[in-house]
Symmetry: C2
Subunit: 199 residues, 2 copies
């Protein structure tokens, strides 16, 4: 079977390792890269290497940063009294995009998932407790996902925080804004009812 020259086959293999990309998509991506100018391909390649070189984890919140301390942690105008606990840097960025939250973050680096060998030691619970103790945090907002592992992680975190005598809250799960009730699944509607608030 004749197929692509090996240099192309290799890039297809690299693209195929990315999430959601199968062989066919990788093929189309390679064709697009071949259509770029050589200097664009050079810039693309150096951007990859430069990103990997520059990006590290913030030594305070464990979020993604290109300095030792990320822009949120180093922002003195933000409120040290609120700490939002998320699974991953992506969640932190999503909350930052939404705007409105002026506290700080702690990135756990995943969620409890015993079947995948991820126990409490693999996640940043120690970091979370250290931050709470060091900063006189008055409220910890737990913003892990609503799947089983995310819920388990939230419960575990709340139990660790209870002895510290601070307010622990969980973000609301319910019907998304802009969506109609009949599109929401049953679990979401149950959560929306449970989480109802008085006018």
């Amino acid at each position: 079977m004749s197929s692509y020259p090996s240099s192309i086959e290799q890039v297809i293999q690299w693209f195929s390792r990315l999430p959601g990309i199968g062989y066919k998509s990788a093929e189309r991506m390679v064709m697009k890269v071949l259509d770029m100018t050589p200097s664009d391909v050079d810039s693309f390649a150096s951007a990859l290497v430069e990103m990997k070189r520059a990006v590290r984890h913030c030594s305070l919140c464990n979020g993604i940063a290109d300095k030792n301390i990320c822009s949120v942690c180093s922002d003195s105008s933000r409120d040290d009294a609120q700490l939002c606990v998320v699974e991953a840097s992506r969640d932190m960025i999503a909350l930052e995009r939404a705007g409105g939250y002026r506290g700080k973050y702690c990135v756990l680096g995943g969620k409890l998932s015993p079947l995948n060998g991820i126990g409490p030691e693999e996640l940043g619970f120690d970091r979370m407790q250290d931050l709470v103790r060091a900063r006189r945090v008055s409220e910890v907002i737990i913003a892990t996902g609503s799947d089983v592992e995310g819920e388990a992680t939230a419960v575990y975190a709340s139990r660790l925080l209870k002895p510290l005598g601070i307010k622990v809250t969980r973000i609301a799960y319910g019907v998304p804004v802009g969506s109609s009730l009949d599109f929401a699944d049953e679990a979401t509607l149950m959560r929306a009812l449970e989480g109802r608030r008085e006018y």
Copy 2:
């Protein structure tokens, strides 16, 4: 709005330029790249640059190659008397994967599409005629797509070839193998009926 460090944002922009990749997918791809080892990222980046450097168009068929003449054109065991005309290198690779065809190819480099400014001059019709004349081709198989532009390209090519007095054929369009009739759309069924063959 706080967001990713600029080195990450840049790679997200590069990935977003690839076909089928939006911002969210690019974000997930970047996270995957950040999880790779630095040496893997280096290899990924050099594979891109190396591919762009190595890949050229075959000087005979215009297909993708890493040498001046591609592996199909330089294969002396293949039949010079058959020439298969396709739109793009991808189509040539797909036919090669299917196996069975032992002739050679001519890659047009696109399809007629006046609305996008692609006329006959932009495509490899001269190359096609040159190959036919130089090689004593006895049959040209036109394997452009079945969409309107692909059909127009096929008709145009067949009119150019008719004066040369050779057999010109079009690949069959019909019900895909393994699929049932009731899943096929009406246009496909019409083509399957039109293209019926006697036992």
